[in-house]
C-alpha cells in the first residue's frame, strides 16, 4: 500500500471530526468507519485514481452523513438520550469518575452522621424541648455546607491559604449562632437561621470558583451550578419523599410504626446527604446533559410576565390597593427572588454575542412589571411601618426588598440599553456577577448584626 500524504491525513481527520459530531455515532464506530474509508482509498489508488479522487470517491461511497447518522440513530436510539456519566460503562476516565463518586458519597455519609452527632449529647431533633429544635434550626446549614465546601476544595485543589480563608466563615458563623444569647424562638434567631444558609452558600461559592472568586466567568458558573443543584435537589427530595412514604406504609402493613425512625434518621440524614449527592451529580453531568434551569426559565418567563401584566391591569381597573397583611412583604420578596431567578438563568444560558430578540423584550417586560408590583406593595407597607414602627422581621424584609429592587432596577436599565443597541449583553451579565457579594453582605448583616441591634429578641 502506498504511503498516504499529509494532505490526505488532514482530510481524513476532518472527515473524522465531522462524523464525531454526530451524537448517534460513537468514537469506536468512527474508528471502524475510518478503517473502511482507508481500505477503500487504498483500493481506489491502486486502481489508478489520484489520492484526491480516491478520497472523494471513498467518501461518496460511504454515503451522506445525514442518512448514515440516521441509520445509526435508528439502531442506537438510546444514544440520543444523553446518559449520565455515573453509569458504569461510560467509556473513558472511569477511574476518575469512580474516585469522584467515592469522595462524594463518603462526604454525604459524613454529613449524615454529623447531623446525628448532637444526639450523643442528648440534643434530639424530634424532642419536645424547644431549645433543641432551635439548636437544629440555627445550625442546620453548618452540618452540611462545610462538607460541600470541602468537596469543592478537594475538587478544585485549593491551596492551603485559600483553605484557611474558606474555613473562616464557617468557624465564625458557628461561633456567632451558638454564642449569642438568643431568646429562644425570637425573630432574630429565626432570621439568623434563615439567612445563614445564604451566607454560607456564597462561601461554598468561594470554594466552587477554586478561590478565584473575582473572576466573573467563574461566578456565572457558580450561578449555573446553583440553579442546576436546586433542580437536582428538588428531584432527589421528591424521590426521597416517595421512599419515606412507602417505608412507613409497608411497615404499617406488618403492624410496625416506622414513622419515628423515618423522622429521626431517614429524613435528616437524607436531607443533608442529598445536598452533596446533588452537587456531585451536577458536577458529573455538566458537560453531558443540557442544563435544566434555562429550559424552565424559557417556559415560565412568558407565563409569569402574563400573570403580572394581568395583575397590574386588574389593580388599575378595579382600583383596589394591596392588602397589607403580615406575610405580604415576604411574599413580594419571594416574587422578586423568583423574577431575579428567571432573569439570572435566562442570562446564564444566553449567547452574549446574539442580537436582541423577542425573548429579551419579554424579559424586560417581566422585570419592569415585577418592579411596578413591588413598588405598589412597598408603598402600602411603608405606610404601615410608619404607623407601627420597626421590628427585626420588617427591617429584614425591607432590606431584602431593597437589595433585590436595586438589582432589578439597574438590570432593567441595562436591558433597555441592550435592546436599544446602546450597550452589550455582557454588561448585564457582569452586573449580575458583580452584585453577588451584596447578597452575602446582607445575609451576614442579618446573621451577625441584627441580633445585637435588636437585642436578641
Amino acid at each position: 500500500m502506498r504511503k498516504t500524504t499529509d494532505l490526505l491525513e488532514q482530510r481524513i481527520t476532518e472527515w473524522r471530526t465531522f462524523l464525531q459530531r454526530r451524537q448517534a455515532i460513537h468514537a469506536a464506530d468512527v474508528d471502524e468507519l475510518e478503517d473502511h474509508l482507508r481500505d477503500q482509498i487504498g483500493a481506489l489508488s491502486e486502481a489508478g485514481l489520484s489520492e484526491d479522487e480516491a478520497f472523494l470517491v471513498a467518501v461518496k461511497r460511504m454515503g451522506d452523513l445525514d442518512s448514515l447518522s440516521q441509520e445509526f440513530a435508528r439502531e442506537y436510539s438510546e444514544r440520543l438520550w444523553k446518559q449520565l456519566v455515573v453509569s458504569p460503562d461510560s467509556g473513558d476516565s472511569q477511574s476518575g469518575n469512580a474516585k469522584e463518586a467515592i469522595v462524594a458519597i463518603g462526604l454525604a455519609i459524613a454529613a449524615a452522621l454529623a447531623i446525628k452527632l448532637p444526639e450523643l449529647f442528648g440534643i434530639s431533633i424530634t424532642g419536645d424541648r424547644a431549645d433543641d429544635q432551635f439548636f437544629y434550626l440555627r445550625n442546620f446549614s453548618l452540618f452540611v455546607l462545610p462538607f460541600l465546601a470541602g468537596y469543592f476544595a478537594w475538587r478544585r485543589a485549593l491551596d492551603r491559604q485559600s483553605r484557611v480563608w474558606l474555613a473562616v466563615p464557617f468557624v465564625a458563623s458557628a461561633v456567632i449562632v451558638n454564642v449569642m444569647p438568643f431568646e429562644t424562638g425570637g425573630s432574630t434567631e429565626v432570621l439568623a437561621a434563615l439567612h445563614l444558609p445564604i451566607a454560607l452558600w456564597l462561601a461554598v461559592g468561594y470554594a466552587y470558583t477554586g478561590g478565584r472568586w473575582r473572576d466573573h466567568n467563574r461566578r456565572m458558573d457558580f450561578i449555573r451550578f446553583s440553579g442546576e443543584w436546586f433542580i437536582y435537589y428538588a428531584l432527589i427530595a421528591f424521590g426521597g419523599g416517595v421512599l419515606m412514604g412507602f417505608t412507613i406504609m409497608i411497615f404499617q402493613a406488618i403492624g410496625l410504626d416506622a414513622e419515628l425512625l423515618v423522622q429521626t434518621w431517614v429524613l435528616p440524614c437524607g436531607a443533608v446527604g442529598a445536598v452533596l449527592i446533588a452537587a456531585w451529580l451536577v458536577e458529573a453531568k455538566q458537560s453531558v446533559i443540557e442544563n435544566m434551569a434555562p429550559v424552565l426559565t424559557r417556559l415560565f418567563t412568558p407565563l409569569f410576565t402574563f400573570v403580572l401584566i394581568v395583575f397590574l391591569l386588574t389593580m388599575f381597573w378595579t382600583g383596589s390597593g394591596i392588602n397589607v397583611e403580615r406575610e405580604v412583604l415576604i411574599g413580594f420578596d419571594l416574587l422578586l427572588v423568583l423574577v431575579l431567578g428567571l432573569l439570572l438563568y435566562a442570562i446564564s444560558a444566553r449567547d452574549p454575542q446574539a442580537p436582541p430578540g423577542f425573548f429579551d423584550g419579554l424579559q424586560l417586560v417581566l422585570v419592569v412589571c415585577a418592579i411596578l408590583v413591588d413598588g405598589l406593595a412597598l408603598w402600602a407597607i411603608a405606610v404601615r411601618i410608619s404607623e407601627f414602627g420597626f421590628s427585626p422581621n420588617k427591617v429584614a424584609a425591607l432590606g431584602e426588598n431593597l437589595v433585590l429592587l436595586v438589582n432589578l432596577g439597574w438590570s432593567a436599565v441595562l436591558y433597555a440599553r441592550f435592546l436599544a443597541n446602546r450597550s452589550s449583553f455582557g454588561s448585564l451579565e457582569r452586573w449580575q456577577t458583580t452584585y453577588l457579594p451584596v447578597y452575602a453582605v446582607w445575609a451576614w448583616i442579618v446573621v451577625a448584626l441584627f441580633p445585637i441591634l435588636f437585642g436578641f429578641v
Binding site: M1, D29, D31, E32, L33, D35, H36, R61, L68, F72
Partner: protein
Amino acid sequence: MNISKDLVAASAAPLVLAILSEAESYGYAIRKRVGELSGGELEWTDGMLYPVLHRLERNGYVTARWGTSGAGRRRKYYRLTELGTEELESQQRQWRLVDSALRSVWFKRMNLARQEGF
C-alpha cells in the same frame, strides 16, 4: 439493473450472515464480497453496512473483536455465533419459500402464455 431499496434492506442481514458463515471478516472485506457475489449489481452505500453489523451483534448473531489490520490500524472483526448460524438457516428457509412461491406463480403464467400461443 436497479434493485429496489426495500429489497436491498431486506437482503442485507442474510447476505452478511452468509458471508460471515464462510469466515471471520471485517467491514470493508464484507462490503467487497457483497460486490463480488452480486456482480456489482447490489448497490449499497458503504456506511449502511455498519448499522446492520451492529444490529446483528446486538441480537447475538455475530460477535465482534478489535484486532489490527496488516497496516497496523485498529480493525473490528466479526464472527458468526451459533445463534447466528440458526438465524442464517431460518433466513434461508424463508427466502427459499419466497423464491419458490414467486417461481411457481411466474412459471405457471409463462406456461399459460405459451399455451395461448405467444
